[in-house]
């Protein structure tokens, strides 16, 4: 027999106080400042902005500090904060061609307008730990070279000139882009809504799915047409002003994945595309997003849907790490009554089974 009880207030309050203490750690070690996190752990901050779905570096850095570096917990904090703010509206779509490019590489064309710009990349580093970083190492200023002012054309525009690649991706005229923060998700989903879900999806989950497509589970033979990182300007229209208001700039990462496609009854052989667009410097995520976007277009392109990465409901329903962690982690909360009921049930079944066995034995003995 289980009797419901109240309790735990003091334990919870002391646990939170203990958490605050452990978060702070040794008081002889200086307290981390938010600007230190934003400046020196910036890629982690970017991940919290992308998956928290809120562009605000200071808040993301604060969340990382509060979460003791647990990025999913930090993302959860940011998502919770978002819900406290009113929404002013939607920006004009950003123009990634007009980006102040900090990095831009293409794996499909060696010589392309704007060139291959490596930017601040981990690529080509030797992945050897640098013991000097354990101290306050003096870091050299970057080398500069007179930059050209030419527009860095998207690589997709170059391929488009030959007509061998599909267009950027259109939706029916007059369609208002789906918004998963406003309307409950429904399947099948339109591509615009899916892209929103992917943009805030868990990097690890999308990376694993993207990897699975490369290993043959929904193979679509990808090339990185282009990855670019840089700042884009935001413009916003409000009723009280007759022109678009410049809001400032944000940093984004864009990936144009180009995929071989043998064609179908409806479409001639050509290159198809997957698209990734993520807040901050998040190249791995943008590439994974683009691969997943392409895999999820299987139905639209008349391909057989055989692999997990092509299963829209499976991918989108499990991509959100705040939902995922909520459901998995809730298992540790008290389930005393649930479990008591299950226990009673198992005992009863055992008793019935034992009785049936002894009845059968009696019958055989007679």
């Amino acid at each position: 027999m289980y009797v419901a009880v109240k309790g735990g207030e003091a334990a919870i309050s002391n646990a939170h106080r203990l958490l605050a203490d452990r978060r702070r750690g040794d008081r002889d070690v200086p307290d981390l400042r938010i600007d230190q996190i934003a400046e020196q752990l910036s890629v982690g901050v970017d991940r919290v902005m992308a998956e928290g779905s809120l562009y605000d570096k200071e808040l993301a850095a604060l969340a990382i500090k509060q979460a003791r570096g647990d990025l999913i917990e930090a993302i959860f904090l940011v998502r919770a904060y978002r819900t406290t703010l009113p929404r002013f509206g939607y920006t004009q779509p950003i123009d990634t061609e007009d980006m102040l490019v900090e990095r831009r590489v293409s794996a499909t064309y060696k010589d392309l307008p704007g060139g291959q710009l490596l930017g601040p990349t981990f690529d080509y580093t030797h992945r050897l730990l640098d013991p000097e970083l354990a101290h306050d190492k003096q870091v050299d200023k970057p080398v500069t070279r007179e930059g050209e002012h030419e527009k860095v054309v998207r690589v997709s525009s170059i391929l488009a000139q030959e007509g061998l690649i599909e267009a950027d991706g259109e939706m029916p005229e007059g369609r208002v882009p789906g918004d998963i923060t406003r309307d409950p998700m429904e399947f099948p989903m339109e591509r615009d809504t899916r892209l929103q879900a992917l943009a805030r999806g868990d990097e690890g989950f999308l990376l694993a799915l993207a990897y699975s497509t490369q290993r043959g589970y929904g193979m679509n033979h990808p090339f990185v047409g282009e990855v670019r990182i840089g700042e884009v300007e935001l413009e916003f229209e409000v009723p009280e002003i007759d022109f678009a208001i410049p809001l400032g700039t944000v940093q984004v990462t864009e990936c144009q994945m180009v995929n071989k496609f043998k064609g179908s009854a409806k479409v001639p052989p050509q290159f198809t595309r997957g698209y990734g667009l993520v807040f901050g410097q998040s190249e791995r995520k943008a590439m994974a997003m683009a691969l997943c976007d392409r895999a999820l277009r299987a139905g639209e392109l008349g391909e057989d849907r055989t692999a997990p990465a092509q299963d829209e409901e499976f991918v989108i329903s499990h991509a959100d790490n705040v939902q995922a962690t909520g459901f998995v982690e809730h298992l540790k909360l008290p389930h005393y009554v649930d479990f008591q009921a299950e226990l009673e049930l198992v005992r009863k079944m055992r008793a019935e089974q034992a009785k049936a066995a002894s009845d059968a034995f009696d019958l055989a003995a007679e």
Binding site: S53, L85, T91, D168, P177, A244
Partner: protein
């Protein structure tokens, strides 16, 4: 006709100023505005209020729009004693910079102030914004790959 032309000129001036102010560093904006020592009577009509805007991108870069995620934005509306109403919306949550920007938006609607603000505030900020962008562009340009071809065999 000339009225609407003047109107569109003010509009272009305001939009340009808003771009300069939104891209300026908060410290520089505050500093230069304080140094100007303008005594402005501006009453706050709305805000400062922080909210969200939803950022939109385009699939494939230039295709149909989709929602990428939200950003924090702070807005302020002020009115000068002379009646001009100024608005400002900036990314982030820094109410003070947005209040200054709204005041400037109101001030530059008066031809008398516009010139001085351009000369002492917008001009210098525009220059600093441009030099920050140029530095970034030049740092990136130094990481540009210069391919060279190794000629093999005889011609």
């Amino acid at each position: 006709m000339s009225g609407s032309a003047a109107g569109s000129e003010v509009q272009a001036r305001r939009q340009d100023a808003m771009r300069v102010l939104a891209n300026a560093s908060a410290d520089e904006l505050r500093q230069i505005y304080a140094d100007m020592g303008m005594s402005v009577e501006a009453s706050v009509l709305r805000g400062p209020e922080t909210g969200l805007v939803t950022l939109r991108g385009r699939m494939g870069g230039g295709g149909a729009a989709f929602n990428v995620g939200e950003a924090t934005v702070t807005r302020v509306t002020v009115r000068l004693a002379t009646g001009e109403v100024g608005h400002a919306y900036h990314l982030g949550r820094d109410a003070e910079r947005v209040r200054i920007a709204a005041t400037i938006d109101a001030l530059i609607q008066q031809d008398g102030n516009a010139q001085r603000i351009e000369r002492e505030l917008l001009g210098p900020l525009r220059q600093r914004n441009a030099s920050r962008s140029k530095r970034k562009r030049d740092e990136t340009a130094a990481t540009r790959v210069d391919f060279f071809t190794m000629v093999r065999g005889e011609h």
